[in-house]
Symmetry: C2
Subunit: 197 residues, 2 copies
Amino acid sequence: MNMPLTDDALDQLFREARTYNGYHDKPVTTDQLHAIWDLMKMGPTSANMLPARLVWCHSEEARNKLADCSAEGNQDKIRKAPAAVVIGMDQDFHDHLPELFPHTDAKSWFEGDAEARKVHAMRNSSLQGAYFILAARALGLDTGPMSGFDNDAVDKAFFADQPSVRSNFISTLGYGDPETIFERSPRPEFGKFNKII
Amino acid sequence: MNMPLTDDALDQLFREARTYNGYHDKPVTTDQLHAIWDLMKMGPTSANMLPARLVWCHSEEARNKLADCSAEGNQDKIRKAPAAVVIGMDQDFHDHLPELFPHTDAKSWFEGDAEARKVHAMRNSSLQGAYFILAARALGLDTGPMSGFDNDAVDKAFFADQPSVRSNFISTLGYGDPETIFERSPRPEFGKFNKII
């Protein structure tokens, strides 16, 4: 059985971690992008479907392209961040299930049911988006997740070659500059949104 | 700036953590349920909307009620686990935004747009579901997340008093018994689902 992680680790992952609007002038390496994936891919998804499709915008050109599809208040954050990522979701994820979930015919559960695939792609790519945020934090990096962008424009700019992929959300990535964060929004006590029965 | 967590911590959170089908005969306390919430609530959601509504099935009666709404292959896991949880999502989360995101009128962004609220509730409660999984692991516990249940039956059984809440997914919780896990499903290399541009 495992023990709780140290207080420092819990602070880094949850309690002191914040959403950053700006980053220190320190690059994020491609090795770090691989390291994030190697952690986040281990997180559970339904039938190991792993529907997330990630486009890492590492070059200035790619970040500018993403910024151009984003809400005005987010553009500058994306242009100036060391890296950004588009978390897409493949609504035809079931085509990969024979490889990802080899011990049974899970592909047949989803064939002919595009509506169920949309729901599963959204739920499970969002789980993977959270694994991305926490994997980055576990590796000492910070993130700035955002929904303020034009989904159709991002799909056209980044997934034109994969028509079954839709954007879910986007994030910046780097070493967060504490001067760029807002005051922490309130987090409610257990009783507000939880019940024990 | 933060350093990467230790290898042991990364193993516990991601690399060695597994989805459990059965648990050791060791109870989960209500203090632990509160501790999980106190970590998971710190994870980011859009405009701090925190749409997840959690019903912790701690009593045998509650677990049996949840098992009765679940796929046959999941019923026994739920009945025998020390605890289970229903992760619901409030599609009227915007009513809480004046309290949760007090510095601007975020409620007005979602009023009259039930379709956008459904998408945001699904995305952000799924993020919170992943925070639940990783918070439990960070505290030394194990989970068994599942989508194999009858959503309408769960909504009727657990959220009848909150008509704007729909079930997203469910999970068992406890100290995982390694004898109940399956062989790890394959996790693809970076190149399969990632691009760097």
